[in-house]
């Protein structure tokens, strides 16, 4: 792998580290499988890119893009909590609606940001080559994001949210308002994913209506890889392992794509990822079954 390609891999790994944290919040903390992220990643990018093009300050544009994505999460939570629509289905509805909304926001299938100012513009004066600067910037964002998420989950409020995902009845018996925690959790999760979308648009120079496809699976892959690296109860380590998992996932993917003898094309990525995640989900179960079978065999 060339240095240039490696830096690109790192950059995208850090950005999707934010996605992975968002997915971790819903799938693991709240036990609310949320597919909204495929749409909210694009929404964050679309809103930010569109606002930058019409002259907004990139930082303000990114903030608004993040907030828009957080709102998408609230819509999913509302569909689920208010109308009892199954969480998966509620999130698919929001995701589908977002496809249209994203096109409307941009007014066309994609928006170019090549010549526009971005969050990185103020740092150009430092004289660091752009390809390094980008990695440093997204790494900074991901690590700060991770620290904030880990801190949040260790606060009273965050602990209450974890209780909601673990045992609703217990949470309620201890005075925790369950629905409120789900709203906040989904807003946070999708906000993180939207922020990742906004960063992606600015470092890659475009927002595109299809850029969010597969976001959920990639995020989940990163979470699972991260979890398999460390067995720990420390929230900080778990959250940070989302970033590491995301980077490792990208490295693995780019190695697979670069290994000519394997004959993979870039368009094979989604299939590869889906297979990888399926294996990761299936493996612990299989291992348990093997163990059970072995134990039985020994007893006979």
């Amino acid at each position: 792998m060339s240095l240039y390609a490696f830096l690109g891999t790192l950059e995208i790994g850090f950005i999707y580290g934010l996605v992975a944290m968002g997915v971790y919040l819903t799938f693991r903390i709240l036990d609310f499988p949320d597919l909204t992220v495929d749409g909210s990643f694009t929404l964050g990018a679309a809103v930010t890119a569109t606002l930058i093009v019409i002259g907004y300050n990139p930082y303000l544009a990114t903030l608004l893009g993040t907030l828009a994505a957080a709102c998408a999460g609230i819509v999913t939570a509302w569909l689920n909590l208010r109308f009892n629509i199954l969480h998966l289905l509620a999130s698919i509805l929001t995701m589908t609606a977002l496809y249209t909304i994203n096109l409307r926001v941009m007014g066309k299938p994609n928006v170019a940001l090549i010549m526009e100012p971005t969050m990185l513009t103020p740092f150009e004066a430092l004289g660091i080559p752009a390809m390094y600067m980008k990695v440093i910037f997204v790494a900074f964002c991901a690590v700060i994001g991770g620290l904030l998420v880990a801190w949040f989950l260790n606060t009273q409020y965050g602990l209450a949210m974890r209780a909601v995902g673990s045992n609703k009845r217990m949470a309620q018996a201890n005075g925790i308002v369950v629905n409120e925690k789900v709203y906040v959790g989904l807003a946070l999760s999708n906000g993180l994913v939207g922020l990742a979308g906004a960063l992606f648009a600015q470092t890659n120079g475009f927002a595109d209506s299809t850029m969010g496809i597969g976001t959920i699976v990639v995020g989940l892959a990163a979470v699972i890889i991260g979890e398999s690296l460390f067995s720990t109860r420390s929230i900080l380590v778990i959250v940070m392992s989302c970033i590491i998992g995301s980077i490792l996932y990208r490295v693995a993917v780019s190695m697979a794509l670069n290994a000519d003898f394997l004959g993979f094309q870039a368009s094979d990525l989604n299939l590869l990822t889906a297979v990888l995640v399926a294996l990761a989900l299936v493996f612990p179960k299989l291992r348990r079954e093997w163990k059970a079978k072995k134990a039985k065999g020994e007893r006979v």
Partner: protein, 267 residues
């Protein structure tokens, strides 16, 4: 004080499966009284406790805590007054949080959670102190995942958790039923200690006639959603397990068949 006035609860209202679980319960429990609640399966004991806690909405009637009408108050807002321990040891704690995290949650019961850290050394000291009362060695396992503890250990921790925050009412729904006799006795012991210490108003559901007579100062029997017997004072003092069984038999003769005789003989 807990007061229920003409409390009715109907499940699946208007459906073929409609079930009148409570049919006009009138009950006043003065502050500091310990009431044991008995009755056959399906009599409405859990429903009564869950309605008082706010998990179930009453279809008719009123609930008051010390003259404050709480009938329309959601469960989470009643937790300032009520602590509970459930029958299922898994229900009262979060399996994938640690012992100390579970205790921190209970420590915040009834208070608004904020953005300060949930755990600190001061709290850990309090939790350790409490856990050491159990003599189960749990005071050295603050950081262990709750799911790794045995059912009895989890139930013991649930019980301690119910007492971490001051509350006036304690609702115990067969909280020793899932435990082996030795652990059940330990839990009952600690329950009595806590109740005494904190001068709590208690409702304890049990299927053990022995437990029902040995603890508290009053026993009520529910049958088909109604209180059919209310024992206290000298009358109760003169009662034996066999007398209670007689009452059960009477209830059965008046009404439908009881499904299970075994539970009546349970000690």
């Amino acid at each position: 004080m807990i007061r229920c006035e003409n409390l009715h609860v109907t499940f699946n209202h208007g459906l073929p499966t409609e079930k009148l679980a409570l049919r006009g319960v009138d009950l006043t429990i003065p502050s500091g009284e310990f009431v044991t609640v008995i009755g056959s399966n399906g009599a409405g004991k859990s429903t009564l406790l869950n309605t008082i806690a706010g998990d179930i909405e009453s279809t008719r009637g009123k609930i008051l805590f010390s003259d404050r009408d709480v009938t329309n108050l959601p469960a989470t807002k009643r937790t300032k007054d009520i602590a509970r321990v459930f029958q299922d040891p898994l229900a009262g704690t979060c399996g994938n949080l640690t012992v100390e995290e579970n205790m921190a949650l209970a420590y915040g019961r009834g208070k608004r959670s904020n953005l300060s850290l949930a755990l600190n050394d001061n709290l850990r000291k309090i939790f350790k102190e409490q856990l050491s009362r159990l003599n189960l060695g749990l005071e050295n396992r603050l950081g262990a995942e709750m799911g790794l503890l045995s059912g009895g250990q989890r139930q013991s921790v649930s019980l301690l958790m119910s007492a971490l925050q001051p509350s006036s009412i304690l609702l115990l729904d067969e909280h020793t039923a899932a435990l082996d006799p030795k652990t059940a006795a330990l839990i009952m012991d600690i329950s009595s200690q806590i109740i005494e210490e904190k001068q709590l108003t208690v409702m304890m559901v049990t299927h053990s006639m022995r437990q029902a007579l040995d603890h508290g100062s009053r026993t009520i029997m529910l049958h088909e959603g109604k209180i059919i017997f209310d024992l206290s004072g000298d009358q109760r003092a003169g009662y034996e397990v066999k007398d209670l069984l007689q009452l059960f038999a009477q209830a059965r003769n008046d009404g439908e068949e009881l499904d299970d005789d075994k539970l009546l003989l349970g000690e």
